[in-house]
């Protein structure tokens, strides 16, 4: 393809709002333009690279037997009401009523649409397992879209869904997907970190995220220096950094004692006042949780709560419930882990008014001792505290010498702590550290989360009606493309991995005329014959401009055809690999086969 016949509007200027390399370079290289906040147009060069990523994903999905389908992007709201997500997806889901009054959703994901189709077609266990996928447009109404296609409103996602008659089958497909994801990212030339993840709003019983490290990543990853443990902080665990107290120590604890702590609000102030350490505190925070599935029928303060079903077949939930969450004073509660422990849609700090109503004191004096208005949830760290300071449920009053098990017994003891750099790996005990990451892919075991409320059934081998298990598996296509640029660029521009490069080679004739032109055309034709995708920069521009654009758009092989080199007895051309400094002189008559060989070697190495 000739440069003059395509449309690659390269820019010297960097768009004002572009703070990350991929955003900057996709605009500068003429791959992408903005239509509105979070909405973009891929130009021809960008679309070529986009399709490469798309096809790598498609090939790997096909290879594990997942079947491509194409549901509509606009889907009926009814299906979301059936699953219960019409209410719970929040405002990021774009809903619209059409002129006939029908509720429609611009798909943010397709569990409902695909499950509805499977429901109609599934009769027998013989049809299972089945795995289908689409590569299609999605819309999520990001409140603050930024970083180009890394966090846009409309994007393309590969989303796969599988259905199974038993756990073993779900597990097999889940493992195949995991392996396919590793191959996809390897083929794209991406270094991904697979991490254990919370399954969040998607629900379910197991999930893994495929992350790329990124300064602007919206996820915190917890990684081990000694083994391959990696987890999203939303799910990360650690070895206890305390020991179960010795019986002697416990027996020696003084009786619990009320102390006046006027004008002392923060734990730091309290530490100073009592000349003690935050580790000797039981921090107690009041949380409000919504759509809580855990059974509260015997929990303190919950006698009046009633369960409701958001959809006829969905599990019953408490729309709202409050909890006191205790944790050692130097630690932080992780709200995602808390919500997971409570099987809640979401958990967040309660308002000051709610805190005062429930604890009978100003904010800052909550504590587990004598608290009967809400269930007490204690982080495991609290179980080691036998001589602690905590709020006394009265303004300006604390307790000291409070002992777990003697002075209070939580309703639930669980792990809700936020793991931090410096904590110890739950697997090997090694030191943990943190990274920021962006999620490129996510695989989930959804279990019955959608198949039960949407009433999907099949007859098992004994003719008994059963509900299938389900898995879902997503990859953001645009994000994956942008991440390739993040990982493969330098000051001059993009340095594409061969598998994603919009062109494998660019030929720059110093002037596109006479013998230079004919040699250029011959090399281009020879390359194309061999399946090498080649761009010929036939523009009437200075060589410097062409070199800069070639570096900017990042084509792996650059071939320069100049007059002097052609007038030699054995004519040569200059060849340079993007990202390397060396310029090699190679015979003009064999350059095409040499480059083709190198291109396919590199593709082969990527897998």
């Amino acid at each position: 393809m000739k440069f003059s016949e395509t449309f690659i509007p390269t820019l010297r200027e960097v768009p004002a709002d572009a703070v990350i390399a991929s955003h900057r370079l996709m605009f500068r290289a003429g791959m992408l333009r903005k239509l509105a906040n979070g909405l973009f147009t891929y130009l021809p060069l960008g679309l070529r690279a986009f399709r490469k990523v798309e096809n790598i994903i498609r090939e790997e999905m096909d290879a594990i037997g997942s079947l491509e389908i194409k549901p509509s992007v606009v889907v009926p709201g009814e299906l979301w009401m059936e699953s219960g997500r019409w209410e719970t997806m929040g405002e990021s889901m774009l809903k619209v009523k059409n002129r006939t009054g029908a509720a429609l959703v611009i798909s943010p994901t397709a569990e409902e649409a695909v499950t509805a189709m499977i429901r109609d077609e599934l009769f027998s266990y013989k049809q299972l397992p089945i795995s289908v996928y689409q590569i299609n447009t999605k819309y999520r109404d990001e409140i603050r879209p930024r970083y180009g296609v890394m966090r846009g409103r409309e994007f393309t996602m590969k989303d796969a869904y599988s259905y199974h008659s038993d756990e073993k089958s779900l597990d097999e497909t889940y493992r195949k997907m995991e392996a396919a994801y590793r191959r996809i990212f390897k083929r794209c030339g991406l270094t991904v970190i697979p991490v254990r993840a919370d399954s969040g709003a998607m629900g379910g019983s197991g999930s893994e995220e495929f992350m790329v490290e990124s300064e602007i990543g919206d996820n915190t990853l917890i990684l081990c220096r000694s083994c391959d443990y990696a987890a999203n902080v939303e799910k990360a665990e650690c070895k206890p950094d305390y020991e179960a107290p010795a019986a002697d120590d416990q027996a020696d604890t003084l009786p619990i004692e009320r102390i006046a702590t006027p004008a002392v609000k923060t734990i730091a102030e309290l530490c100073a006042f009592l000349k003690t350490d935050a580790k000797a505190f039981i921090k107690t925070l009041i949380y409000r949780a919504v759509n809580v599935e855990i059974d509260l029928s015997r929990a303190p303060g919950c006698a009046n709560l009633r369960r409701v079903k958001p959809a006829p077949e969905a599990p019953a939930v408490y729309a709202e419930a409050f909890f006191a969450v205790c944790i050692r004073g130097d630690l932080d509660v992780n709200e995602v882990k808390l919500a997971a422990a409570l099987k809640a849609g979401e958990a967040a700090l309660a308002s000051d008014a709610d805190v005062e109503r429930l604890t009978g004191a100003r904010v800052g004096f909550a504590g587990p001792v004598g608290l009967a208005s809400v269930p007490v949830v204690a982080d495991e760290s609290v179980t080691a505290l036998y001589d602690a300071v905590t709020g006394a449920l009265e303004t300006d009053v604390h307790y000291r010498h409070a002992a777990y098990g003697r002075d209070f017994t939580p309703w639930l003891v669980t792990d809700v702590r936020t793991v931090k750099a410096g904590d110890r790996c739950p697997v090997c005990g090694g030191g943990l550290y943190e990274k920021k990451g962006n999620e490129l892919g996510h695989i989930f075991k959804l279990g019955y989360k959608y198949t039960t409320p949407m009433n999907v059934r099949f007859l098992d081998e004994n003719g008994k009606s059963q509900t299938p298990l389900m898995g879902c598996y997503g990859i953001g296509v645009d994000r994956t493309l942008a991440s390739v640029i993040e990982e493969h660029h330098d000051d001059a521009g993009i340095a594409w991995t061969m598998s994603v490069a919009p062109f494998h080679a660019i030929i720059i004739p110093v002037k596109y005329e006479g013998v230079i032109r004919s040699v250029t055309d011959t090399i281009a034709a020879e390359l194309e014959k061999r399946g090498v995708e080649v761009l010929v920069d036939d523009r009437n521009e200075r060589a410097g401009v062409k070199f800069n654009d070639a570096d900017l758009i990042g084509v792996p092989f650059r071939v320069v055809v100049g007059e002097k080199n052609l007038s030699l007895e054995k004519p040569v051309v200059e060849v340079k690999r993007r990202g390397e400094q060396d310029v090699k002189l190679m015979p003009a008559d064999s350059i095409a086969s040499a480059i083709a060989g190198m291109v396919f070697d590199e593709l082969l190495k990527l897998g």
Copy 2:
């Protein structure tokens, strides 16, 4: 691919709402399922065929140098306000406000999105012409979606847009597109009728539609029996079926005379009453037109009308204006031709109240004589009437002996008649006939319709700022696919054209085991090696079931592998071409190369 490893849920039952063959067969063959009214999911078999059509279109677009891009499907409403179509597109455009209050549109078409991008990138005439296209999701809120994907709400369209510095360049691209469209439909095996078309809501100066004949077509086509004239009835013209009156006849006409016509309302009643023919009547109808661009500053009754600009750079229009339209009594006014003549967004019959207000009489007594409240628009047929009956602008009163030019002079004389079967071809005078058709593609010369209001500019060769001309070119991908089925099917099912067939060949082992299985696998592998797409029906079903399904899903070549034929000295298999009766016995060891040869011959013949 094995039948057991894909997902082709064939049905014996016909969906209740499926009245046309493609709708019925896409469901029965397991290609498509319904998500909601007008919203569908393509299943694997359907998607394979869909992609074939998509790729044929892509190849032909690429071949004429159009560049593929990918704008978002959800686009900012602002752009539609700029073009003026925010108001004029009507309720078929799905609009939504997101949570930040931004107006968004689910693209029904992309003139605005693409023109906005070009506006930002276009500087110099050297960049022109440029032609870009997308193959992307569209949504139009059909009030009564039906006929499956033939008239759905969401659909996939290839839409191309071109920009030019002069008419000659626009004309060149328009001709290239026309040729590409003919190749696309030929390759799909479709018989299309290219017809002259009104450019309708899209505006512009020239347009052609590519129609397929269809009983349920929503277009009426006017075709000539003697030449290749073909036009949408919305645009069709005909030779006059009258002669200019002789001077003598005119001079002999009696003076105009008022006659009482009580209790006479229809033209038929009036004919009976006056013992004359409808051809001697001047039928006069009051029309209301909106967004009228034609200059009315000197038109009768329009002194108080004011022009407004729907967008800053858009042409000024009258939001609403009324017209009296006269036509010979046996003819009908074509509202699309009328709107085109008035350069109006739309023209429709005025309400009874408006008619009475403007004519001073009950409905049925309008006429051009003495009418000053609205401009009179006369169809050309009226110019031959010199002794006619018409309404007298008074209830229960008509005129007779009314003569064009003597008793009334219309404000505008133009062609607004609805051409019918039996009229004479405007080109050769031959007999015209009618067909119903569905539009698969449409090419338009848009002129400045979008580039002016959206303020697109470039510097010409003399450094002068100019507005580019624009063209646009659409093809409905789903409709094209459905039309292939409409044209290629029989009672047993689909009979795919080779180019669109989801598989080229199906192998049916009578039982998939032992030697039959190994021969089946060998033939399949040999076919795949040669690039033939093959489906192996490995299901444990009776041969009859497999044969029926093979016919239903319409695979061009069917190969049956049976035990008896394999036990011969020279083992053979049965081969049948879909749609033919003959079953041939062919040697098992050379069947793959024979079928590959036939497949590629057929593909070659399609172009």
